[in-house]
């Protein structure tokens, strides 16, 4: 059993904990420069969207060459997006996304990922 990523978890903690503790433990440090505040507000959506987009639209072949990918995963992810936007229920969105992919692959409408 590998434990290499435990160190990564510790490093991630090292940059996460201060953001959680600074305001609670250091009263008065509750004001960021407005530009920094505005930027940080936007990082979450951008990073998460980047991860999702690359995950469904880019595949890497055996020679490490990236290529554009179109597949049932697009439909599944868009369905999840719509459900979360509509119902604010992420778990339901995930269930529907998985169901779409499973059914499409079972009936032969989509291929299994390489």
């Amino acid at each position: 059993m590998t434990t290499d990523l435990v160190l990564l978890a510790v490093l991630m903690f090292a940059v996460t904990y201060p953001t959680r503790a600074l305001g609670l433990l250091t009263p008065g440090l509750d004001r960021l420069p407005k530009a920094a505040f505005d930027y940080l507000q936007l990082v979450g959506p951008a990073v998460l969207a980047a991860l999702a987009a690359v995950s469904v639209m880019v595949v890497v072949d055996d020679d490490d060459v990236p290529a554009f990918h179109v597949g049932i995963e697009w439909v599944a992810v868009l369905a999840c997006l719509a459900i979360v936007a509509w119902r604010r229920n992420l778990f339901l969105g995930l269930v529907v996304a998985v169901a779409i992919v499973v059914i499409a692959r079972e009936v032969g409408l989509a291929a299994l990922p390489a």
């Binding site: 059993m1 590998t2 434990t3 990523l5 990564l8 978890a9 510790v10 991630m12 903690f13 940059v15 996460t16 904990y17 953001t19 959680r20 503790a21 600074l22 305001g23 609670l24 433990l25 009263p27 509750d30 004001r31 505040f37 505005d38 930027y39 940080l40 507000q41 936007l42 990082v43 979450g44 959506p45 951008a46 990073v47 998460l48 969207a49 980047a50 991860l51 999702a52 690359v54 995950s55 639209m57 890497v60 990236p66 554009f68 995963e73 599944a76 992810v77 997006l81 979360v84 936007a85 992420l90 969105g93 995930l94 996304a97 998985v98 992919v101 499973v102 692959r105 299994l112 990922p113």
Partner: protein, 251 residues
């Protein structure tokens, strides 16, 4: 409930990405930040270098600074040692539960914070992670069960949850677009980092239409973002409500 379901999915995704039980649990106990943990699964699977992962984690979790600043006035009387532990449990969910509870009762409630952050979130999240990563190991063909789509679907769902105005929307769309273009031209890892850094920069070019979109956490203008569904905090930004035609004037 959401911590259970989402923690379980995180465990499955971590297992799918090659995390061992110890590694997946280390993330859930030590980092304890759902979005960053899911992102780390993607980073590791995409081959992103550790320094970049740490940088992106810092950016992604920087919003917690805003949460702790918003809670600080409520919890200033709690001993500092307990506040230090409380800080580790300060997630999106814990903040939303605590701030809405404090506002509802009009004062801080330390026991309520512990219940929301530890009993309702930390414990279920970690138990569900363990269940997900253990059960994931028993699944012979994860792709047949659609587990490979859980990660991108979870990412886009989390992104939707963070979009509270047009700036966030533009940052997400542009970040995703840049990421794909750069990923195709170089590698997925570089694409993700580039999209995550430049998407917000483009989003900042969009003028904020109303103050509620960008008001600092803890202010009345921002409060609606963190209230329970179907509730609303009235602010000076609310349009004045006109009485229906024919309504007699108040005495």
């Amino acid at each position: 409930m959401s911590a259970v379901g989402f923690g379980f999915v995180y465990g499955l995704s971590a297992r799918e990405a090659g995390f061992s039980v110890v590694e997946a649990m280390a993330m859930s106990t030590i980092v304890f930040a759902g979005a960053a943990q899911f992102a780390a699964v993607g980073y590791v699977a995409s081959g992103v270098a550790w320094p970049a992962i740490v940088l992106l984690t810092a950016l992604l979790n920087a919003r917690h600074l805003l949460y702790s600043a918003a809670l600080a006035p409520w919890l200033r009387d709690v001993p500092i040692a307990r506040r230090a532990v409380m800080a580790h449990l300060l997630t999106d969910e814990a903040f939303a539960l605590a701030i809405s509870h404090f506002r509802r009762i009009g004062r801080a409630d330390e026991r309520g914070y512990w219940f929301g952050a530890f009993v309702s979130t930390f414990i279920p999240w970690n138990l569900a992670t363990l269940a997900g990563v253990l059960l994931g190991a028993q699944i012979p063909d994860p792709a047949r069960l659609g587990i490979d789509v859980i990660f991108p679907a979870a990412m886009i769902g989390l992104a939707v949850g963070l979009i509270t105005g047009r700036r966030e929307l533009v940052a997400a769309i542009v970040g995703g677009g840049i990421a794909v273009v750069v990923a195709l031209a170089s590698s997925p890892a570089i694409g993700i980092v580039t999209g995550g850094i430049f998407g917000p920069a483009i989003g900042l070019l969009v003028p904020a239409a109303i103050a509620a979109e960008t008001a600092p956490l803890g202010t009345l203008e921002s409060a609606d973002r963190y209230l329970m569904p179907d509730s609303h905090v009235h602010t000076d930004l609310d349009p004045p409500t006109e009485p229906p035609a024919g309504t007699p004037p108040a005495p």
